[in-house]
């Protein structure tokens, strides 16, 4: 067995996991405020191409990352306005955002087709640590954004469960009427976290573009990672720490078919393995879209429900 292939696979799996952590954390913050944003895939694509164009024009990947995050927040603000201000059906609004985001990204991406970016985000070097066999390249061979993703998940968990704004965020997703009665603005909180969520998704999309694919391949750039991120939030029970493990698991599952093909292991058809993450995602999304099953999964009680103050 070729050890290098497996190391490469692990590194790739963690790379996918990084995008997934950002996207899933973004979805988690959005959903914890009670807004269901199914448009993650659309946001990922738009911010990916925006970051590519920005990095290409400025020559700075960091500028690209910032532009990608901002575009993510702007895209999410469309969903926030539709679902919070106009109280639209959030499932419909989210799906519309996917279609809009995909179309916009393809349009913006026309000039980028076939181009590659010269400056990409480089892995950090931990000196001798990176040279440890097997573990070195996997644990110490990542770039700073990957470490940032893991740190962010930890911070998110502390924020959610041990701070005052975190308490208010969770309350807004569970019982907005109570938050409203305390004189806090449900709309403001929901719009804020939908946009923060969008920025995180945007960061994930930009990083995927600038550190990983390094070229625009239309919808294949993200390859459904936005949908998987949504499913990941469900499987993680809306808890940030579990997202790290879930993201790594999904990362490996997505990489496994290629590795098995390379190793010529054929007792399981690779098409079947490729299908698995998407099958899991499909099931999770169906569950997420039904109010009944949503509750039994431990979703925020008011997820997907527009808040209307009951007038007496």
């Amino acid at each position: 067995m070729n050890q290098n292939i497996w190391i490469l696979m692990s590194a790739d799996a963690i790379a996918i996991a990084t995008t997934l952590i950002f996207a899933a954390l973004g979805a988690l913050f959005t959903e914890r405020s009670g807004v269901l944003n199914l448009g993650i895939e659309g946001i990922l694509l738009t911010s990916a191409i925006s970051s590519f164009l920005a990095a290409d024009a400025s020559g700075s990947v960091w500028f690209g990352l910032i532009v990608g995050s901002v575009i993510g927040a702007v895209m999410a603000s469309i969903h926030a306005v539709l679902s919070v201000v106009f109280r639209a059906n959030q499932i419909v609004a989210g799906l519309a955002l996917v279609i809009f985001g995909t179309g916009l990204a393809n349009f913006l991406g026309k000039p980028a087709e076939g181009k590659t970016i010269t400056t990409v985000i480089k892995p950090l070097s931990f000196g001798p640590l990176s040279d440890i066999p097997v573990i070195g390249p996997i644990v110490f061979g990542q770039d700073i954004i990957t470490y940032l993703a893991i740190a962010l998940a930890i911070v998110a968990s502390r924020y959610l469960f041990n701070t005052r704004p975190g308490l208010e965020l969770r309350a807004t997703g569970d019982d907005p009427a109570t938050v409203d009665a305390q004189g806090l603005s449900v709309a403001r909180i929901r719009i804020r976290y939908t946009m923060v969520g969008g920025a995180l998704v945007g960061l994930g999309g930009s990083w995927l573009m600038l550190a990983q694919s390094a070229g625009w391949h239309q919808a294949a750039t993200t390859n459904g990672l936005g949908w998987i991120a949504l499913a990941l939030v469900v499987f993680a029970g809306w808890r940030p720490m579990r997202i790290i493990f879930g993201a790594v698991l999904f990362g490996f599952t997505l990489q496994l078919p290629f590795t098995l093909q390379a190793e010529q292991i054929t007792f399981i058809p690779s098409a079947f393995l490729e299908m698995l993450p998407y099958l899991a995602t499909l099931i999770a999304l169906i569950a997420l879209s039904r109010p009944g099953s949503r509750n039994s999964l431990g979703a925020p009680r008011a997820l997907g429900t527009p808040f209307v103050r009951d007038e007496r």
């Binding site: 701070t163 308490l167 208010e168 569970d174 019982d175 109570t178 305390q182 009680r301 007496r312």
Partner: protein
């Protein structure tokens, strides 16, 4: 009439000397489209007293309370706090002046712990929360007013009475000096009401002011130092002095005419068995919801089911109505077995059902009164509105429904009128004459006038020989109307007693689950 002109010699019971006015409202006007909810209302509450706002639903007491706590801004008039004029732009501003409202519908996050709920919304909290400090602080606030509560308990696991305590602790934690309690006893069992009143005394003893909002005369007389009665948005009277108040006089001030306070039992020789329930059991997801229930209801008899909400009442009603199939046991209505037959079969043999959820299960809110009446009439393919219209008009008159006619939308009816439409439909018979009427919480949320009408209609139906099963959380209602009373606790009948000679304490204990276990 200004409330200050009506000074009483006797001060609040525990407080010697002149208590200062903590909060006062002067000539408050509040308009809503089409209604003047508050018309030049004066009100004041002193430190350390309980001042009750008494009135029917729609009398304007909730509006006044909303103005007092900053939820609504008055169109005219002003508020004074400790002698200074204040302007409350929001409930938060009210809180800053030490005024807090405990809503009838609790504002609590069920998944949060008690202390998380208590601190939610407090602005002076640090960014980072230290759970132990917060728990200690919440517990100490709770204990100092005799409101023991576990700060770590999840609110979703608490009883209604405990949740109310959490709400009160929350208000106190936020520094409330004046607490507005909006119909606080509406959701409590008798023993919890007693506990609440103890807490109220502990709070007034500590110098807090309580504005108590209610339409239940008995408890108002018991708890209040002073009473202000509202009707149609105006103050119709002030009464002072605990225990010295005449309930009849209060009722007259409230309704504007003499009313019969205690619904009279329509004594009637009972006929043959209409409803027979045999060993009825129901399990939902392996949890026993109903266990081994057997009883009969005779023609011309009213049988009451008492119990705290969630002890199987709704499931019992739905099972009789054919909406749920029992796990075992049988239901028969006037001799016909209706177990597992579905609601249409049950209605065919004479069932009428008034569910608890009027606008959800009972009526279709977006349809007219006429169409709602049609729902239980014929089941032809083409709807025949023309022939039912005269009957609808007649029913609206007969049941004193305040509506513009048969084409009035159900959702635009007040609670009392919606209930009357529902009763009109169920009592007037559908495809077959009504023999058995199952009614759930028929007067919940209705004002005194409507309650009187609904109870009279039920008594009329009984006199007409219908068998009635009355399921209600209003213990007074069950005891005063029913010939026989069953108490449900955790899905089982734990007490059977004649309605007439029932003892409140015995029924209350059974409702709290103390019937079988004895006193320990």
């Amino acid at each position: 009439m200004s409330s200050t002109s009506h000074e009483v010699a006797r001060g609040p019971h525990h407080n010697s000397g002149a208590a200062s006015t903590a909060l006062s409202a002067h000539s408050i006007d509040k308009k809503f489209p089409g209604v003047l909810a508050n018309d030049s209302v004066d009100f004041d509450v002193r430190a350390g007293e309980v001042h009750t706002l008494l009135g029917e639903n729609g009398a304007g007491k909730s509006t006044l309370a909303a103005v007092l706590c900053g939820l609504y801004q008055p169109d005219a008039g002003y508020l004074m706090r400790n002698g200074k004029r204040i302007n409350l732009s929001s409930p938060r501003a009210g809180l800053q002046h030490g005024i807090a409202m405990v809503h009838q519908h609790f504002r609590l996050v069920e998944r949060f712990s008690v202390s998380e709920n208590v601190i939610l919304g407090s602005r002076d909290l640090p960014f980072k929360l230290n759970r132990r400090d917060i728990n200690e602080k919440v517990a100490s606030v709770a204990e100092s007013y005799g409101l023991p509560i576990d700060p770590n308990a999840t609110v979703g696991d608490l009883s209604v009475g405990q949740r109310q305590r959490v709400e009160i602790v929350k208000a106190l934690y936020q520094g409330a000096e004046i607490l507005l309690l909006d119909e606080p006893t509406a959701v409590l069992v008798p023993s919890e009401v007693e506990k609440l009143f103890e807490n109220v005394h502990a709070m007034t003893a500590a110098g807090k002011s309580i504005v108590f909002i209610s339409h239940k005369l008995g408890e108002v007389v018991e708890i209040s130092d002073r009473v202000t009665v509202l009707r149609n948005g105006r103050v119709t009277g002030h009464v002072s002095g605990r225990g010295t108040t005449d309930t009849k006089e209060l009722a007259r001030l409230m309704v504007g005419r003499d009313i019969e306070l205690n619904a009279q039992r329509a004594t009637h020789a009972t006929g043959h068995e209409i409803l027979q329930i045999r060993n009825l059991s129901l399990s939902v997801e392996n949890v026993a919801v109903l266990s081994d229930i057997s009883f009969n209801v005779h023609a011309g008899e009213m049988v009451g089911i008492a119990g705290v909400a969630g002890n199987g009442q709704r499931e019992l009603a739905d099972t009789i109505a054919g909406l749920i199939s029992p796990t075992s046991g049988s239901v028969s209505i006037s001799g016909a077995m209706t177990t597992d037959c579905g609601p249409i079969q049950a209605r065919e043999v004479g069932l009428a059902y008034v569910p608890e959820d009027r606008l959800g299960m009972g009526l279709v809110p977006s349809m007219t009164i006429l169409d709602n009446l049609l729902l239980t009439r014929d089941r032809k393919v083409v709807v025949d509105r023309v022939s039912v219209r005269p009957e609808a008009t007649r029913l609206i008159e007969q049941f004193e429904i305040k509506a513009n006619g048969p084409d009035h939308l159900a959702r635009k009816l007040s609670g009392g009128n919606a209930q009357k439409v529902l009763l009109a439909r169920e009592l007037s018979g559908g495809r077959s004459a009504t023999k058995l009427l199952v009614v759930c919480s028929p007067t919940r949320g209705l004002d005194v006038g409507a309650i009187e009408t609904v109870r009279r209609l039920l008594n009329d139906a009984r006199r007409a020989g219908q068998a009635i099963l009355l399921i209600s959380e209003d213990l007074d209602e069950v005891l005063s109307l029913s010939d026989r009373v069953f108490v449900l606790y955790r899905g089982a009948v734990v007490l059977e007693t004649p309605g007439e000679s029932a003892q409140l304490s015995q029924v209350g204990a059974a409702m709290a689950g103390l019937a079988n276990e004895g006193r320990s």
